[in-house]
């Protein structure tokens, strides 16, 4: 496999997406099924820019919470009391932060808790690196000017 080297000398790779990076794509793209055939297209209320930012933030909080929960604090310290205390503080803190964020959107979005507990997206953690402008992912969706190529419709 050829190495993808940049002129800078490091390996350029796409980074796995965080929700902030793809929320516009998820909400605005994809097959649209005939209104006559579908029961409803739910979630229209979440299409405002503010709601998108909130959703992306919640995803970030949840991934921090998952990462924090995975940390084995005992690994780095053998002493008895301190790790336990730290563990309690850390997980408690993360939990309440996440809860707070979720409570916050419940009112606005009719949201609920997230029982996110699988490890299937370990690799996404790297996605939190360098997302300085995650909120700018929320955009105006005014007339996507898809060019280059328009597919025939059925």
């Amino acid at each position: 496999m050829a190495a993808a080297r940049t002129t800078g000398g490091y390996l350029e790779r796409p980074r796995p997406s965080g929700l902030a990076d793809v929320i516009d794509v998820i909400l605005d793209k994809g097959l649209v099924i005939d209104a006559y055939v579908r029961v409803s297209l739910i979630g229209i209320e979440i299409l405002t820019i503010d709601a998108r930012i909130v959703i992306a933030s919640v995803d970030t909080y949840l991934r921090f919470a998952e990462a924090v929960n995975r940390i084995d604090l005992k690994d780095s310290d053998d002493s008895q009391g301190l790790p336990d205390l730290l563990e309690g503080m850390t997980s408690g803190g993360a939990e309440s932060k996440t809860k707070g964020a979720l409570e916050g959107i419940k009112g606005a979005l009719g949201g609920g808790d997230d029982d996110d507990d699988d490890d299937g997206k370990e690799k996404q953690k790297s996605g939190s690196r360098g997302r300085s402008s995650s909120s700018s992912g929320s955009s105006s969706r005014s007339g996507s000017s898809s060019r280059s190529r328009s597919r025939k419709s059925s």
Binding site: M1, A4, T6, T7, L11, E12, R13, P14, R15, S17, L19, D21, V22, D24, V25, I26, L27, K29, G30, L31, I33, D34, V37, R38, V39, S40, L41, I42, G43, I44, I46, A51, I55, D59, I105, K106, L109, G110, G111, G112, D113, D114, D115, D116, D118, G120, K121, S133, S136, S139, S144, S145, S146, R147, S148, R149, R151, K152, S153, S154
Partner: protein, 256 residues
Amino acid sequence: MPTAGDASVYVYGVVSAADRSDVSVGGVESADVRTVEHAGLAALVSPLHADELAAAREVRAHWRVLEEASRGATVLPVRFGTVMESEDAVRGQLLEPNAQEFTELLRELAGRVQLNVKGDYDEQRLLREVVQASRPIAELRDRVNQLSEAAGYYDRIRMGELVAAEVTQRRANDEALALSRLEPVAVAARAEPAASQSGAFNLAFLVEKDELDAFSEAVGALRAELGERITLRYVGPLPPYSFVETDLGAGAPAWA
């Protein structure tokens, strides 16, 4: 609206039945994801009981189901929030009438992934360059600086107008530049409007999996070429959300 105990069906996407594998992450409402099959096609679905979704959580579920499903198969993602009456409806009203089109699309998209490349300006730098490059803007700026806020009102509007036009022009140039560098390594490209005020371009590419390294290399070269003027965000691989935009029947989204 479904009555209690009578689930409607949430639809995530369509895969080839031959490629489908079980999705282990929970779907919307934490329900197990199953498939409805017809003519070699499989729709990924899960039962839905509520008539109102906890949006923030369910966007995430939708996203992750498609992400997992697309690891082993080509998926045609369905737009978030699509609910049909029953599994029979999914079979009879989604898969059956569109079987040929879905099959062709799946064949066309097989072995290909979507990659998004967004560029963001360093705003201070951009504005400095705009002022330095335009004599009328520089002159207006000098004049406005010497006037009171009220007296300079129309000059400021005029200056802002010129700056906006200049920024729009630069966006178009930089979008064209990025496309010219990356499109040769991609199967197809879509340009979306820049997402924010400091956004330079917002591009989606369909790329052969086998060409991923070559594409990444081109992105790296573009990053080097743009230097500090534009910061790139390179995200993916994603299911081909931006390349399945065929309207099934008259189904324009309600908010379009």
